[in-house]
């Protein structure tokens, strides 16, 4: 059938994770992305041990110091508005940042994904109700949601994650629903039903694995949005409160200093960007690499193309 499938049985039989791993090693961009993410995860786990007091103790003499070598390694990236090492805070902030962003993204992805799955695979009253609820969430201002949660449930990181997640649900829900409505018409779903598979089985085995790659792409871009939204909620008392902080709150507190000390907001911004970019690059890469129709793009080229 397919002309790009000249020797189907000639392919070596290798376990998929190893295959992906080897492909990754050959590919500089996603490899770099993986390294960045590993560094960030490492900071998140061991950050507190890595950086000393320079990241937490005010040092008014170094207030808003620019990135420089003079004050030693700790102040290489300058100092913040209380004279604390920006580099140290970037490392230290990784944990809360990742916890909140990952928490919110995973939560909205799960809730939105699950509801989208139901709405997509069972048209009818339930689906209608879900879609109208989505309409309501979309039209509900997130600040009001935040205030309501704050008043009804009180402050705290858990509730913060909840607020951030709720506002992001519609994106996942609508995307999943659209994809599911297409996938459930495919023959392998009918095949599973003919074997007596129930709704749960079909969702778990056939729908979810196919929808996930798309969700991951959105989730990667969402990471930045969630972190920035989080910093916007701090002032309500719902966000993280000092001495905890995130890259988002670092950007926000650097806001007033953009004209005099641009690096205060820019450097954590760069970290958010680097994380988002790495996630997106990796998500796109996995998506292409696991797609049988696209995986040839990863094969090593020996010659240029010709027509």
């Amino acid at each position: 059938m397919s002309q790009t499938d000249p020797a189907p049985l000639a392919r070596p039989d290798r376990a998929a994770p190893f295959r992906l791993g080897r492909m990754l090693l050959r590919d500089p961009a996603p490899l770099l992305a993986t390294c960045v993410l590993l560094v960030i995860v490492f900071s998140a786990i061991f950050g507190a041990e890595l950086v000393g007091e320079t990241a937490t103790k005010p040092n008014f003499a170094l207030r808003n110091a620019a990135p420089q070598f003079e004050h030693g390694f700790a102040y290489l990236l300058g100092a913040d508005n209380l004279g604390r090492s920006v580099m140290g805070r970037l490392v230290l902030g990784a944990r809360t940042t990742i916890a909140i962003a990952a928490g919110a993204v995973v939560l909205s992805l799960s809730i939105g994904g699950a509801l989208g799955l139901v709405a997509g695979s069972r048209p009818g009253l339930l689906s209608d109700v879900i879609m109208r609820l989505t309409d309501i969430i979309m039209a509900f201002p997130s600040l009001l949601i935040a205030l309501i949660v704050l008043y009804l449930l009180g402050p705290g990181i858990g509730n913060l994650v909840l607020v951030l997640a709720v506002t992001r649900i519609p994106v996942y829900l609508r995307t999943v629903r659209a994809e599911v409505m297409e996938i459930r018409r495919r023959p392998f779903v009918a095949a599973a039903r003919s074997m007596g598979a129930g709704q749960g089985w079909i969702m778990r085995k056939h729908l979810v694995p196919l929808v996930l790659p798309t969700l991951f792409t959105i989730a990667a871009v969402d990471f930045a949005a969630v972190i920035i939204a989080e910093s916007g909620l701090s002032f309500l008392g719902l966000g993280v409160q000092p001495p905890d902080f995130t890259w988002g709150s670092m950007v926000a507190s650097g806001r007033g200093y953009i004209s005099s000390a641009w690096w205060l907001a820019a450097l954590p911004g760069v970290m958010i960007l680097a994380t988002t970019l790495s996630l997106a690059v990796l998500a796109n890469w996995v998506r292409l690499a696991t797609d049988p129709a696209q995986s040839w793009r990863f094969f090593r080229a020996s010659k240029g193309s010709s027509t």
């Binding site: 961009a29 039209a139 509900f140 949005a225 950007v251 292409l288 793009r297």
Partner: protein, 303 residues
């Protein structure tokens, strides 16, 4: 689903949203704190609540509010002491203009560059476009906004800092508003186009002798539009009440800023009015998008 049923269901959402906002916004605190001086006594605050009817049970407040809506009265702003709906309707066109221009540019740009990236996935153009679009999408908007003012207005003296006015006044706010939609849509276009470009009918078009640009932008693009339109709709909806940063930094009196202030000041009538206006727009947009699906893909017209 036919249009009549869809519209009816949407009205349910609207009423549901309206009621939900009414009841829930009233749990977010007593406005008397905000509207009376810091040192106002408890008796003064009680008197205020009585005068404004806040001492009544919320359900009774809701029904009397519904009654006044039927008479065309959406309540009076506590802070500005004028009809809340006037405030919402003054601000809405400003936002609408701003996001119409921004999203048109973001949409056109995302289509163009998303397609260019999809022609050769993992090629130079793809990597460059993905880098730029993702960078734009993940940059904090207020940071970008202020940075742009400092660089383009103050340092380079090219553009006005802020305010309403001629085309030059649009450049910076539009640029900031374009970033995120452009990044997100660009990624979606790219993904959808990569899939579409390997469809058999693309081969047909090439075999017909259709020029490559036409193959990409006419034959493939329209097929790749469904997910793009979905995401574009979501983005538009989120900007309809969420272009606040740009509105406040650049001094555009849009509805997002009005809504946020009303929420922070517990100016309930204004909250209700602004949400009503944006919700009608968002829900209408969702219907338009459903209709657009049918226009884009004739197979969906009957099903």
């Amino acid at each position: 689903m036919n249009l009549f049923r869809r519209t009816l269901l949407t009205l349910f959402s609207l009423v549901g949203l309206f009621a939900l906002v009414f009841f829930l916004s009233r749990v977010t605190g007593d406005p008397s704190y905000l509207f009376l001086p810091v040192d106002a006594s408890a008796e003064a605050r009680a008197a205020f609540s009585r005068a404004q009817g806040f001492d009544q049970p919320v359900s009774i407040q809701f029904f009397s509010y519904l009654k006044s809506i039927l008479n065309g009265d959406f309540g009076t702003s506590l802070r500005q002491q004028r009809p809340a709906m006037d405030i919402a309707l003054e601000a809405f066109p400003v936002t609408l203009r701003l996001i119409a221009v921004s999203l048109s540019i973001a949409f056109a740009g995302a289509l163009l560059f998303g397609c260019l990236a999809a022609i050769r996935p993992r090629g130079i153009a793809d990597r460059l476009i993905s880098l730029v679009s993702l960078a734009g999408a993940s940059a904090p908007d207020f940071w970008v906004a202020i940075m742009l003012v400092l660089v383009f207005s103050v340092k380079l003296d090219l553009l006005p800092t802020s305010g309403l006015g001629g085309p030059a006044y649009w450049v910076l706010p539009v640029f900031v508003l374009v970033l995120r939609p452009f990044g997100l849509l660009g990624q979606v276009v790219r993904g959808a186009m990569i899939q579409t470009l390997s469809a058999p009918f693309i081969k047909t078009a090439r075999a017909k002798g259709v020029a490559e640009q036409r193959v990409v932008f006419v034959h493939a693009l329209r097929n790749a539009m469904l997910p793009v339109v979905t995401v574009a709709g979501d983005l538009t909806a989120s900007l309809l009440n969420g272009a606040v940063i740009v509105e406040t930094v650049f001094g555009w009196p849009g509805i997002g800023g009005v809504m946020i202030n009303a929420i922070l000041q517990r100016d309930f009538a204004v909250i209700q009015a602004t949400i009503l206006v944006t919700a009608v727009a968002i829900l209408a947009l969702n219907i338009v998008i459903d209709l657009a699906y049918g226009w884009l893909d004739p197979r969906l017209r009957t099903a």
